[in-house]
């Protein structure tokens, strides 16, 4: 219920640019914009047309830091990852009705079964960090794709580094 209000509020004024597929009502009661939560957060206001509840809105808000990367066979959260996850946590603190799934991935230089387990471990490492920052575990799901869904298709160190990742995705 809260969620509907939030969507309505955020879409106000940017609806024409949104291009979103959520069923936003045609008539937008403008007075509800005042109910937008977390206005005093340190997160900069979202300036694109993406609607709250979409992946685009989240990625814009966290400035593209919705992915964290791992070393070969590792799953520890380094300082760069920690900064990204802190930004994600701020977003999730602000929009308390948003839930996410963290997708864990591995590079192609591993055996299939092991990489599925490794992807799960990476997704959980990212999840645990968010939970440690106060995000309820119930709002953070995990799924492992092992080495089955690379984003970089080369067979080189650079591609493998890009594929060893945990991607936070808004559930919609």
């Amino acid at each position: 219920m809260n969620r509907n209000i939030v969507i309505v509020a955020l879409v106000t004024g940017t609806f024409a640019l949104a291009g979103c597929k959520t069923a936003a009502p045609k008539q937008l009661p403008p007075q509800q914009a005042t109910t937008l939560p977390g206005e005093t957060d340190s997160l900069p206001p979202v300036e694109t047309g993406a609607a709250l509840g979409t992946q685009a809105h989240f990625e814009n808000a966290v400035n593209g830091q919705n992915v964290v990367y791992f070393d070969t066979d590792r799953y520890n959260i380094d300082s760069v990852d920690a900064a990204a996850l802190q930004t994600q946590a701020q977003y999730l603190m602000r929009y308390t009705n948003i839930s996410v799934t963290i997708e864990g991935h591995a590079d192609e230089r591993g055996t299939r079964d092991y990489n599925l387990a490794l992807g799960e471990r990476r997704a959980n490492a990212a999840k645990n960090y968010l939970v440690g920052l106060g995000i309820p575990a119930s709002r953070v799901g995990t799924v492992s794709y092992g080495k089955e869904r690379p984003v970089a298709t080369g067979s080189d160190e650079n591609s493998w580094a890009r594929n060893r990742r945990a991607v936070t995705v808004v559930i919609n």
Binding site: L116, A117, E120, A125, G146
Partner: protein, 459 residues
Amino acid sequence: MKKLLVLFTFLAAAPLAAQDLGSAPPPDGQVVTIEQEGGLTGSVSDESEWQDLGIAIPGFATDRDAPTAANASGTAALGKELARVITADLKNNGLFKPAGPDGLPQPTFPQITAPSWPSWSNRSAEMLVHGYVKAGPDGRLTVGCYLYDVALQNELVRAGWVVPPRDWRRAAHKCADLVYSRLSGESPFFDSRIAYIAETGPKDNRTKRLAIMDSDGANHRFITTGRSTALTPRYSPDYRRLLYLSYVDGNPRIYVYDIGTGKQTLVTQSSNPTFAPRWSPDGRWILYSMAIAGNTDIYRVPANGGPSVRLTTTPGIDIGGSYSPDGRKIVFESDRSGSQQIYVMDADGSNQKRISFFGGRAATPEWSPRGDQIAFTHIAGDFRIAVMSPSGGSRRYLTDSWQDEAPTWAPNGRIVQFFRTERGSGRTSLWQVDLTGRNERRLATPADASDPAWGPILP
């Protein structure tokens, strides 16, 4: 609204699961072994020339050219096809040089039990296979198979089978198995099936479907439609069920697919992801690996349902698992030492001991059906298929490529299948190699292919 939708999806999980499945394969026909009358047995004339042992395999004869559902041109044409299947089976094993049926004289029906020796003795074949096919009044086929030593002009072995017409290739595989076993002293393996994952599409958007086929690639069938990713299948020892991983509900989970009914169930009712399914050799137990909060352990569950028992408890990834042929031990993979290594434990999880100590990483162990070897993936730069003894000694490489992984044993423990990934393109293919490592060949599949799982010899 959203909550309702989620709930609906959840409740519909079972029917949804079925939605990724194509039509169920037909049930197996029965192959009846029959007694062939009379006959002598002798010994092989020359044991020393294995690699060059020529085997002539002319077309099988028929008593009368009768129509059959197995071949549009009748039983005479079917006789030639039987010989063709046997010839293809016996090739590429490093043991024989089979030839036929093209370019060879066609024996008559009476000659099957009384070969025309003059027409065979001046060819470069030490062994001769003869056979016949007859169509019975009920449509079933009777296939007889005879192996002769040309120099001794002696019969070595004979056997016969009655098969439904659609299983005619199985009679040919049985004959190839008979010849192979008699000449090599090894157990048969041709009359068996392979489950694997068929792959299509670009590297970053692959469609992965569960598929099955005969050991020679014939009778190929897709089990899943490809709408959701399927991985790591394993045939039950009786070929009635398949274990495999599917993302059909969005998460990786192991399903038990019943080939007879075309229905499937979750291996365990849990919201946690499950991976790496395996059968016990007697088909009574299933091993699976389950991740809880990122920590993966190996579990055992009765194949017909019941509570799961956790077998590993160390922090880290414990995964896979392959039973020794007597079902008393399990070889598995764990990174508890810091990297993937191979361990052995008793079937109840006790006495866990690391056995791989040779540098690099060691993964995907599979116990040979003969019990004497463990095949695995050795990772030290490249990924290579290797074998070692069950105590971890005598490591030997069978392949040398950029990425070979996931070995599976032929039913007789003499050949290992695996899949090879091509650097760059990510294209995958099935290969097999014998235990010498010298005879390696690619298996023909309709699409790219990975995760082969070889089932046992069919009854």
